[in-house]
Symmetry: C2
Subunit: 412 residues, 2 copies
């Protein structure tokens, strides 16, 4: 049997009891003959606790310092897990980013992996050891610690899996896998057995908190199978989870794979009399100055007015005041509205591109049920609508019912 | 002006308020023109918190794992201090043991420094930056993290000071310096202005908790001045502290520098009829098997009995049960007594070797005041007596009064 990579998140290693349970699960795979590489996140709450300390010291902390600080969270978790595995009588070794060695570019707080030297990992595996790697961190050309941003341990796991040509990567979570909608909002949500990389990327971008999108990109690039499973279930038969891979080979494929939603989106609408190409350039200059990732954009001319609208995810919400100020100061004769508390509802599935009429059906379902669609955006495999946040739950359930539950009933 | 090294202990960086205060103190020296290198310990309580986690997972944890875990305490403290200094508008850079680079041998938990590459530190200093080094840690030949044991950050500070040929090293503590006796036990205890390396080594070995003995050895080897000062006082005139150096050049030197005491010593007494050289070899074989550092040893033959006695410091106390068991099992016809709760009272000063009669005076003072001396040991600059722990406070005060207070009064 070959190499597998298992990643355990913060709640899976939250305390000593949880760590012992993870040690047992890891050992089970090891004893079954796999060469096991484990990637761990910081224990639940540690990263936030560190950030609180940081922001009591500085409002604009040096990112190099923050990366060094945060990376110690994964250092703590990986050494504790190694202690637990060693205690259970198997040989384990904990390795930090620079020891692995995970080489990155020089961008602190969202570094990208350039190369992984697998020699050290392979040497330990060949000695029959379980290798435990501190997630979320690498080392740049200057021997400085860099981190990968939120969800960065997923990236470590998939990148290590690709570098080692692992059989598969398991992302072990406190849920059973990826669902057709958020189970907290939609009681009919079902576990998805299989999903393509493309669909998973769209879902991650649309609010499904399953795993970091960059890790899916890395998996896709190397054709590496990624399982999302529960770290709490030990019986494999009841822990199939969701597998993310290149293709989903079933005869009759559902058109729609899942309904995602994302709350706390901000919508910015800028209106000016007459057309204004120069103004549009100015708007996006300002957006770029603030390093804002904008999401859905629309640009409409109507009755002699031109209107540019875009949305920003909740991660960017803290920049809205500054954005408004700069737009207001630098644009002439424009009406600027910033509307918070919007929801992005997304319908995702590779079947969309081959099935006509999905977009109109999505709109009809929402409008017929009294939900205003404020903006809409379509790609080959995703249709997203911006609606008011009070319609979030209703919208998810309506779309899930029409596109998932009823279709499954027909196929069943 | 040249390079200085300042070391701040756990209570000096205990929380964000303390860290800001340290940042201010460091900046003051920097702004006065010094090239400042700072070494920090883990925040107060962190190391113990880590060890609690460890011992909930394993009774005999892998030392490599423990070193990786514990070293993150200093990593956290150094990055937080760097954030605070950067926030205050000065440039700071935090460096870990492997980044410095502090090369050690391969002994986990009590590694010894082999070599420090100062290039990186000097480059940062030359750019006008304040260099903040995570104490207590180094890196071995295999790129693994090693630590130096309790008080290890003192060793980092002095070793860095020696490697950089610093003007001096400051050990910044929550007390004003080193005292002639423990101020919690002896209300007349006075701050010592100057002390030699030799005296400091004897004091550290005798219970004075001022700084790690190995750091004093390193300082002595390189003739590097070490100041022990308060990190809480900012006015230099009232913060002279204690300086440890090769010689103390004052015309009239006190014979005795300080009275140290150490509690929780264990005394082991083994008695056998007739002489027993073979038994003595067996005793010390068993002591060595358990890697016990024994302190005072005596060996007396009396009335046809031979008696071997030795003491163990409180750090070794957890080994006493196992020691008793092995002695009992493997020695024939011996009476073995293990007595806990002993106190070692020590009188320390370079004047001892040149002043006859100090030992007899020490004994007389104690015996005249009803304190039984159970064992005694003399060196050129130290006289230590083992007494029952209930006499600790009384003994310290008696000796302090006779050898420090009365002598000072005469000289004054």
């Amino acid at each position: 049997m070959g190499i597998i990579v298992q990643k355990y998140g913060g709640s899976s290693v939250a305390d000593e009891t949880a760590i012992k349970r993870v040690a047992e699960r890891v050992i089970k795979f090891h004893d079954n003959g796999y060469k096991v590489v484990v990637v761990v996140s910081a224990q639940l709450g540690i990263t936030d606790m560190f950030l609180e300390k940081v922001f009591r010291l500085s409002s604009m902390p040096n990112e190099r310092d923050v990366d060094m600080l945060l990376s110690s969270g994964e250092q703590i978790a990986s050494s504790l897990l190694s202690i637990a595995v060693n205690e259970a009588g198997r040989k384990a070794v904990a390795l930090l980013g620079y020891q692995c060695a995970i080489h990155t570019d020089n961008v602190y707080s969202k570094a990208r992996i350039k190369k992984i030297d697998t020699d050290k990992i392979l040497q330990h595996l060949d000695k029959g050891e379980i290798v435990i790697i501190a997630g979320f961190q690498g080392v740049n050309d200057y021997n400085e610690i860099t981190t990968f941003g939120r969800g960065g341990s997923d990236i470590t796991a998939v990148a290590i899996g690709a570098a080692l040509e692992a059989e598969y990567v398991e992302i072990c979570k406190d849920v059973d896998g990826i669902f057709t909608a958020d189970p907290r909002v939609c009681k009919d949500a079902m576990l998805i057995e299989r999903v393509t990389y493309d669909e998973m990327l769209e879902m991650a971008a649309s609010g499904t908190k399953a795993l970091n999108s960059r890790s899916v990109e890395v998996g896709m690039k190397h054709g590496l199978k990624i399982y999302v499973r529960s770290s709490f279930r030990s019986d494999d038969k009841n822990n199939l989870g969701t597998v993310i891979s290149m293709e989903v080979n079933t005869m009759e494929e559902p058109v729609i794979r899942a309904i995602s939603h994302s709350l706390n989106e901000t919508k910015v609408v800028i209106t000016q009399k007459n057309t204004f190409p120069a103004t549009i350039t100015d708007i996006f200059d300002i957006v770029n100055e603030l390093n804002i990732n904008i999401d859905i954009i629309s640009d409409i001319a109507l009755n002699g007015y031109t209107c540019v609208a875009f949305t920003m995810s909740k991660d960017e919400a803290y920049k809205t005041d500054e954005l408004y100020l700069r737009l207001k100061t630098r644009l002439d004769n424009c009406d600027i509205q910033v509307e918070k508390n919007k929801c992005k509802l997304s319908v995702i599935g590779t079947g969309i591109k081959s099935t006509p009429g999905i977009a109109s059906k999505v709109m009809k379902v929402l409008l017929d049920n009294g939900i205003d669609i404020e903006m809409i955006s379509c790609s080959e495999i995703k249709i997203s609508c911006i609606v008011d946040e009070r319609y979030a739950e209703k919208g998810v359930n309506l779309l899930h019912d029409v596109f998932i539950v009823q279709k499954n009933a027909l196929r069943g």
